[in-house]
């Protein structure tokens, strides 16, 4: 049962392997050249497992000690996980002990795969999601640790490889669009993010975006529910 779930899960994580090794190594190298031992990226990747925050944490660690500011930044960068949790309430039901790891390791990529993947009937859903999450974390931790160890020895001629993450989210978004009948909420999310990006800038548009999405979904609940077409 476990082997079958692993075999089903692995192909879904191949793009993440490319993306996480690239980004993870970049992160490890960044920590290395900022003067930190490889233990830092390794421990942080195991215990935080959230790429964007880990990058920001480097600048927090090199700045003067400011715990409250660190907490506020963390909550703002990671707030989107609240949305993932709400979407996964049903899917994680009855997963036993695996549920706690699934929640712990719910980064953007693991959430997106676990939410959208068509899991074959004869494969255990819990183990499938468990292996997706575990493999993704393994890629991230090994990439960032390697980056931290090798540091500035590595020279990149891989400019543009990070686009693998963008391409993956584009494909997942497209799959979602093809599955659903009405695209109101897809439109809400995309438009809110675009408008907030223009108004608030690249570094601080996610919290306003999420508030906009919540407000729009609340105000237009009736027509959206009436149209239905959810997957």
């Amino acid at each position: 049962m476990r082997l079958r779930a692993f075999r089903a899960a692995f192909p879904h994580t191949i793009p993440i392997f490319a993306g996480f090794w690239f980004l993870g190594m970049a992160y490890g190298i960044y920590m290395n050249v900022s003067g930190f031992s490889f233990v830092y990226p390794m421990v942080m990747s195991i215990l935080i497992f959230g790429g964007s925050l880990e990058f920001v944490a480097v600048s927090m660690l090199t700045a003067p000690f400011a715990p409250l500011q660190t907490l506020i930044m963390t909550l703002m960068i990671q707030a989107r996980h609240l949305f993932y949790g709400i979407s996964m309430l049903d899917k994680f039901k009855g997963m036993g002990w695996k549920k706690y790891y699934l929640i712990f390791g719910m980064c953007d990529e693991s959430f997106s795969i676990n939410y959208t993947a068509k899991i074959p009937q004869n494969v255990d859903r819990g183990w499938f999601m468990f292996f997706v999450t575990l493999l993704n974390q393994f890629y991230w931790v090994s990439g960032s640790t390697l980056g931290g160890l090798l540091g500035s020895l590595i020279h990149f001629d891989t400019e543009g490889l990070d686009f693998v993450m963008t391409a993956m989210f584009v494909v997942i978004f497209l799959e979602q669009l093809m599955k659903e009948k009405k695209h109101y909420t897809a439109l809400v999310g995309t438009a809110a993010a675009l408008i907030c990006r223009l108004c608030f800038g690249a570094d601080s548009f996610m919290v306003p975006t999420m508030l906009c999405i919540l407000a729009l979904l609340t105000v237009f609940r009736k027509p959206i529910e009436k149209a239905g077409g959810f997957v």
Binding site: L61, S87, T190, L217, T218
Partner: protein, 111 residues
């Protein structure tokens, strides 16, 4: 290198960990299995994912500037290639690989 003491570093990293886990675990703690999940939250659970995936695509492209540099052209072309490939072959890995190779060629050779 950092001016923090080791204790301060550990506290900073611990705050990052606790803050992250708070955002991941909170929905499951608030809406536990014992009470039925409120109808509005159930609705959000169904309505949010499409909005999230749209938002994540924009999030990936947040550092693209349309008015300077390469005007976001490599990103636009590579996304069009990714979408085209996916509509044509419907092979997830192929679409992602094709789009990425297209982007890498564009930023390394053209722009």
């Amino acid at each position: 290198m950092t001016d923090m003491t080791l204790t301060q570093q550990i506290i900073t990293i611990a705050i990052c960990i606790l803050g992250t886990m708070a955002t991941r675990f909170l929905p499951f703690l608030v809406f536990s299995g014992r009470r039925p999940t409120p109808k509005f939250v159930q609705y959000l659970g169904r309505a949010l994912p499409s909005a999230i995936f749209g938002m994540l695509v924009v999030y990936c492209l947040k550092n693209v500037t349309v008015f300077a540099g390469s005007h976001g052209l490599p990103e636009m072309i590579a996304i069009a290639a990714t979408v085209g490939l996916h509509l044509w072959k419907k092979q997830m890995l192929l679409s992602i690989a094709g789009g990425t190779v297209c982007y890498m060629l564009l930023v390394q050779l053209v722009f």
